[in-house]
């Protein structure tokens, strides 16, 4: 049976929880793969090498920068999951600020906090085989990657926009019909258009699509009532470090 290891870097645990959230699929999956390391789920931890490694979280400490190289060496296929692992996550907001100041705001004794000045995606450190976007990832996409890997085929992970999923669901466009600002036209597909389904504009938690046309979207966002401050904030959230333009 292929072995699988799940690793956590700087993150909230939500993406690896997605694996435990696979209620109907979890036990059947464990009959197809051997879980060799998954600290959140099991006390068993086996040494490498591993056929598949799933990595959640971004690299924010010198130790993590070392550890990701070791995991790459030990892993046949490296799948990175979630906005933290694929773009640096919300903690990448430090990349635009003074980390020393951040440290002193949160911690009484900032000199004891060993952290890098940046939060970076896994791909900034090692070669990555598959990326799953999202804050958090979509359960269906996670199962698609695992199924494809077990079957020896290429996973089907569209890199188009949320708009395509929204249209396919037959939802009314929140921006056209209600004037609600929406990042759907430039955001990577994968969630299934969750926000428009609740009358909310997409807020970009899957990060930029392949070749997003942000300059074309900005006037529409302005027409929907967004000012300079809001425009600045809306692209600086869960995928702030990603290439939006």
């Amino acid at each position: 049976m292929p072995s699988i290891a799940v690793w956590k870097f700087t993150s909230c645990d939500g993406c690896q929880l997605t694996l435990l959230d696979c209620k109907d699929e979890l036990l059947p999956l464990t009959e197809r793969v051997h879980i060799a390391h998954f600290l959140e789920a099991t006390s068993v931890s086996e040494p490498g090498p591993y056929d598949i490694s799933i990595v959640e979280g971004s690299v924010t400490t010198p130790e993590e920068a070392e550890r990701i190289r070791w995991i790459r060496e030990q892993s046949g296929v490296l799948v990175v999951v979630g906005a933290c692992a694929t773009s640096g996550g919300i903690q990448a907001l430090r990349n635009f600020a003074d980390v020393d100041e951040f440290r002193s705001i949160v911690y009484a004794r900032p000199e004891h906090i060993a952290t890098l000045g940046t939060s970076t995606p896994v791909s900034a450190h090692v070669a990555v085989d598959h990326e799953l976007r999202g804050c958090p990832i979509d359960k269906g996409q996670l199962l698609e990657v695992l199924t494809a890997l077990l079957a020896g085929r290429k996973p089907d992970l569209p890199d188009t926009s949320v708009c395509t999923e929204c249209k396919r669901r037959g939802l009314t466009c929140v921006m056209v019909a209600h004037g609600t600002p929406c990042l759907g036209p430039v955001t990577h597909a994968g969630c299934g258009a969750l926000c428009p389904a609740v009358d909310r504009g997409c807020y970009g938690c899957f990060g930029p699509m392949n070749q997003p046309n942000v300059p074309a979207l900005v006037p529409l966002l302005r027409r929907s009532g967004m000012g300079d401050d809001e425009l600045h904030l809306v692209f600086r959230t869960f995928n702030a470090n990603a290439e939006w333009t």
Partner: protein, 431 residues
């Protein structure tokens, strides 16, 4: 007897907890000399980058502190900002928030009971190995968790980091017809929750009676989730705005982590505290089930927290059913919230215990400062005290058995280290 005067136990990576932590225990001349629960989870600086953000953003941003209890973060954030803006969300909108929160309790508690904690009691390394011997029980647990997730999917738009929550209420509120299928799922879930409670009540529980003060919310009615006043087992109660005056972090000599104290006393938050201060507030079915499970009105044995969690799952399922049955769609999905300069406080009961948020806003609604106190930070002293007590009274165990028992003692609190990391001091352990 393998009684040894000097011994050191080190667990470099605690398994079956959320986030990354380590445990160090040292005994000298047969006395427990040092117990440290170390946090090596890297800091993420949430309080720092919330500065300058818009007042409508904290529910989405702070949800990302924890993938296990994002609703708790969203609810405490909403309450705090609404408090700052002088708004109170009531009626069916509040009921929907409570329904969403029930979903998170069911989901989080069920995960902890079945996949993280029960394997300790039955001697398995994880829930998957446990499923080999108890498949039907684990499947029942996963079905319960699915019911919780379904509530969050339907009301929140997504189970992890829900998209439908906003300051003032929701983006879209469901119709009664949309909620109805949930009721069918929840009737089965109630049956599963009662079965789960009966199952965990039959475990063997190590003896431990903790003297810590218990801190939990208590509301004018109902079991506390989304609202209430902080109350202490010694009879003290204080307004939410005074939380920071009572719960204070101290630096202690034996650990580099910050420890919270309640009026300079050891305390704990979470299921034991909630239950002991509110056992009279359970629904009739949950109350009866708790009695049958052997829980009195107060529970001070942290090993029995798994039983209390199972009681709370029964309650949350019943409460969710009650809300769905009396639900009428509100005219508007949210109350209008206009920013104003000021400070707001919000506390709700995360599955692991009290979660406090405080925000200071300027006139335009920009966040000037943010302060977040997660439950695991508050419990850190109690966890270490419990481990100390357990090591003291189980010195006859060999290292492996004692280490397992120490880990089980930590899991009694369902610690969420991802949450506490942005808050606690950070030390790297090289073991």
């Amino acid at each position: 007897m393998t009684h040894r005067a000097n011994r050191t136990l080190q667990v470099a990576g605690l398994a079956r907890v959320e986030g990354e932590g380590a445990l160090h225990v040292r005994t000298v001349d047969g006395e427990v000399d040092r117990v440290e629960l170390n946090i090596y989870e890297p800091p993420r600086f949430f309080e720092a980058f919330l500065r300058g953000r818009d007042f409508r953003e904290p529910p989405d941003i702070t949800a990302r502190i924890c993938g296990i209890c994002p609703v708790a973060y969203q609810m405490s954030a909403c309450l705090a900002i609404e408090d700052a803006c002088g708004v109170r969300v009531d009626g069916q909108l509040r009921a929907l928030r409570r329904l969403l929160y029930c979903g998170e309790w069911i989901s989080s508690h069920t995960l902890h009971i079945h996949l993280l904690h029960a394997p300790d009691f039955l001697g398995f390394p994880d829930g998957i190995a446990m499923a080999g011997a108890h498949r039907a029980i684990v499947e029942r647990g996963l079905a319960l968790k699915k019911a919780g997730n379904q509530i969050m999917d339907l009301v929140g738009g997504r189970a992890i980091h829900p998209v439908n929550v906003r300051v003032g209420g929701f983006y879209r509120v469901p119709t009664p017809e949309e909620l109805r299928p949930l009721a069918k799922t929840l009737h089965q879930a109630l049956y599963d929750a009662l079965g789960t409670l009966e199952w965990v009540a039959g475990f063997d529980f190590p003896d431990l009676e903790v003297p810590h003060d218990l801190l939990a919310l208590r509301d004018v009615e109902g079991y506390p989730l989304d609202r209430g006043e902080p109350c202490v087992s010694n009879g003290l109660a204080f307004p939410t705005a005074e939380f920071g005056r009572h719960v204070v972090e101290h630096q202690v000599a034996h650990s580099t982590a910050l420890h919270a104290r309640l009026d300079d006393r050891m305390f704990l938050v979470g299921p034991l505290a909630r239950y002991s201060l509110n056992s009279d507030r359970l629904s009739p079915v949950a109350r009866e089930a708790a009695d049958a499970a052997g829980l009195g009105p107060v529970c001070r044995n942290p090993f029995r927290s798994i039983v209390v969690r199972a009681v709370e799952v029964v309650y949350a399922v019943e409460e969710a059913l009650r809300i769905i049955e009396s639900y009428e769609r509100p005219d508007s999905p949210a109350v209008e919230v206009n920013p104003r300069a000021g400070v707001g406080h919000g506390i709700t009961e995360a599955p692991r215990g009290l979660l406090y948020h405080r925000y200071e806003l300027d006139q335009a609604g920009r966040i000037l400062s943010a302060d977040i106190v997660p439950p695991t930070s508050q419990n850190q002293s109690a966890i270490e005290a419990d481990v100390t007590q357990v090591v003291h009274s189980h010195q006859h165990l060999d290292d492996h058995a004692l280490q397992s028992l120490c880990e089980q003692t930590i899991r009694n609190y369902d610690p969420c280290i991802s949450c506490s990391a942005h808050f606690l001091d950070f030390t790297r352990e090289r073991t």
